[in-house]
């Protein structure tokens, strides 16, 4: 497939936004049970939500560049019964709205206590909003992953690993950003976020490498024989029927060499996993200035990762477009 930068930015940016929100609410939940110091004043959660919103809105804007007719985008919320894309279109704004309310509730310190847990922890409005947001964040990861994982012809994507990796990679980048943000806004949370970021990053590494290994072993289900229904071991396309290219030759081929693909793979393994892991470890051992660098490197690495994710997928329609003549 041809990697489209609109989709690369959409998936990576909202992944960070979701992860950052999950990180904020994880910290708040820990603090609720006195496992972490409570944050005085509204700034940490409110500004954290604002940063998450920036990423989410950035992703939303990027997604419009993917559409031929963005002015009709509202229509894409109608087919949620069958289409994961439609479900994403519904969940994304719902999540953005929830993050916004969560941030505003913290900013205005609007915290009416709705219930009290047996242990004495007060469930206020921000906790409820946070819990809803957490559900929506995971629902959004599921939708985004399933958009790709549900296409059974694209066998590189048609695996639960696709969804798992969207969760883990988005989560890792969000927690890394949370660590970098905490270094500025709430130094006592910095190690907490950096530690979790490292753990999720390592899990993500396992998941992504598992996907790479799986995809290496895939044998194509469709062949030139099944494509035209003729049984002969040697079938070569003489002409695809036109010379100047078509949508089918542009959208589904990346036209890059295998060598470049391999370099990008190593680049993202280093950029999205190895280097940020080292920087996070350095951050954990007290050098907070590395945390911001960890996020930047990781985000760039994730762009490479997503590019590779698209380029790696081999569409069966390509069997019909082998020879320009």
């Amino acid at each position: 497939m041809l990697p489209a930068f609109s989709v690369i930015f959409l998936t990576t940016l909202i992944g960070v936004g979701q992860g950052l929100f999950l990180a904020l609410f994880t910290a708040q939940s820990y603090a609720l049970f006195d496992l972490l110091p409570k944050q005085d004043g509204p700034s940490f959660y409110a500004y954290g939500s604002a940063v998450a919103l920036l990423f989410l809105l950035g992703g939303l804007v990027a997604s419009f560049f993917h559409l031929g007719r963005p002015e009709r985008a509202w229509r894409s919320a109608t087919q949620w019964r069958t289409s994961w894309l439609s479900r994403e279109v519904i969940v994304l704004p719902a999540f953005i709205g929830t993050v916004f309310l969560y941030g505003v509730a913290h900013l205005l310190e609007w915290k009416p206590v709705l219930a009290t847990l047996p242990g004495g922890a007060a469930i206020d409005a921000t906790v409820v909003l946070g819990a809803i947001g957490t559900l929506l964040a995971f629902a959004l990861y599921l939708c985004t992953g399933m958009i790709y994982a549900c296409l059974r012809f694209l066998r590189e994507w048609h695996t639960p690993l696709t969804v798992i990796n969207y969760v883990l990679l988005g989560g890792a980048s969000g927690f890394t950003l949370a660590a970098a943000f905490a270094a500025l806004a709430a130094p006592d949370l910095e190690r907490f976020f950096a530690g979790w970021a490292l753990i999720i990053l390592l899990l993500g590494f396992v998941g992504r490498v598992a996907a790479l290994i799986r995809n290496r072993r895939l044998k194509p289900k469709s062949t030139p024989q099944s494509a035209i229904g003729i049984k002969h071991p040697r079938i070569v396309q003489a002409t695809q029927g036109f010379m100047g290219g078509s949508f089918n030759t542009r959208e589904f081929f990346h036209d890059r060499s295998r060598g470049l693909l391999r370099s990008i793979k190593w680049l993202f393994l280093a950029g999205a996993f190895a280097v940020p892991a080292l920087l996070l470890a350095a951050g954990l051992s007290g050098a907070a200035e590395f945390l911001a660098a960890a996020f930047v490197v990781q985000y760039l690495g994730l762009i490479a990762e997503r590019w590779f994710f698209f380029a790696e997928a081999n569409h069966p329609q390509n069997l019909y477009y082998q020879s320009v003549a």
Binding site: R75, T78, P224
Partner: protein, 243 residues
């Protein structure tokens, strides 16, 4: 239920591209708007087509065979392109099984083209919407046309009658007969899409002659010569047959 479809006879198609041309002509002049080309007279002409005729070479020289292979939307009975569409622009008609794109609803997200294994959906770069074969839905029900004309443009254009059109759910239709009797098959059956369009395979007519059929069994000594003339009194052929 009705399922309209094309049946394409690969044994007959000569790859003349007449169906491609007539398809483009009919569908670019229709009320759904033009199928826009880019650089039509330039170096890399490109544009939207519903139908393409490709050519494959089967076998190794000198035992090669050229197969011309027309390809358009197969109007799958279980179309994977339809459920993924977020807007409902892509749909399959209940009444005749044609898979269509509602150009007024399509947002041009291209997701359906990813979900079609056959590579038959083409994005119109000028109108920014997805397009594909409509089985000439604007022809085949046009009451102002004669019955002969109420067939898809490609079928009408084909000089060798390699393209048949009809209802594959009606066991007595021309297309059902062709599929049944000439071994019609579907493309990429491994995906379970159940394409409505079928292809008829290449067929070779061979005379099967055994060695002993080349030799006269009633002349084991291979003695050539005229058979002895039967006598006048002996029964002639006229006595034993009716002609």
């Amino acid at each position: 239920m009705t399922q309209l479809a094309l049946v394409i006879d690969l044994n007959v198609c000569v790859g003349c591209q007449a169906c491609v041309t007539n398809c483009k002509e009919w569908n670019t002049s229709g009320e759904a708007g033009p199928m826009v080309d880019q650089n039509p007279y330039g170096k890399d002409p490109t544009g939207t087509f519903f139908n393409r005729v490709q050519t494959f070479e089967v076998g190794e020289f000198p035992n090669t065979e050229t197969v011309h292979f027309p390809k358009s939307c197969l109007h799958c009975e279980d179309p994977p392109c339809v459920p993924v569409c977020p807007t409902g622009a892509s749909y399959k008609r209940q009444e005749d099984g044609i898979v269509l794109v509602d150009y007024d609803k399509c947002i041009g997200c291209k997701y359906c083209s990813w979900a079609c294994p056959y590579g038959v959906r083409e994005f119109d770069e000028a109108q920014k919407i997805m397009k594909k074969c409509t089985l000439c839905v604007d022809r085949i029900y046009d009451a102002k046309m004669t019955a002969e004309e109420r067939r898809p443009a490609c079928v009408r254009a084909c000089p060798t009658s390699a393209r048949l059109f009809g209802d594959i759910h009606d066991p007595e239709s021309e297309v059902s007969h062709a599929i049944r009797e000439a071994g019609g098959y579907q493309l990429m059956p491994e995906w379970g899409t159940s394409p409505a369009n079928h292809y008829l395979p290449r067929r070779k007519t061979r005379l099967r002659i055994r060695e002993d059929e080349l030799e006269r069994a009633d002349n084991p000594l291979k003695i050539d010569g005229q058979l002895p003339k039967p006598g006048k009194a002996e029964p002639s052929l006229d006595d034993v047959t009716s002609w």
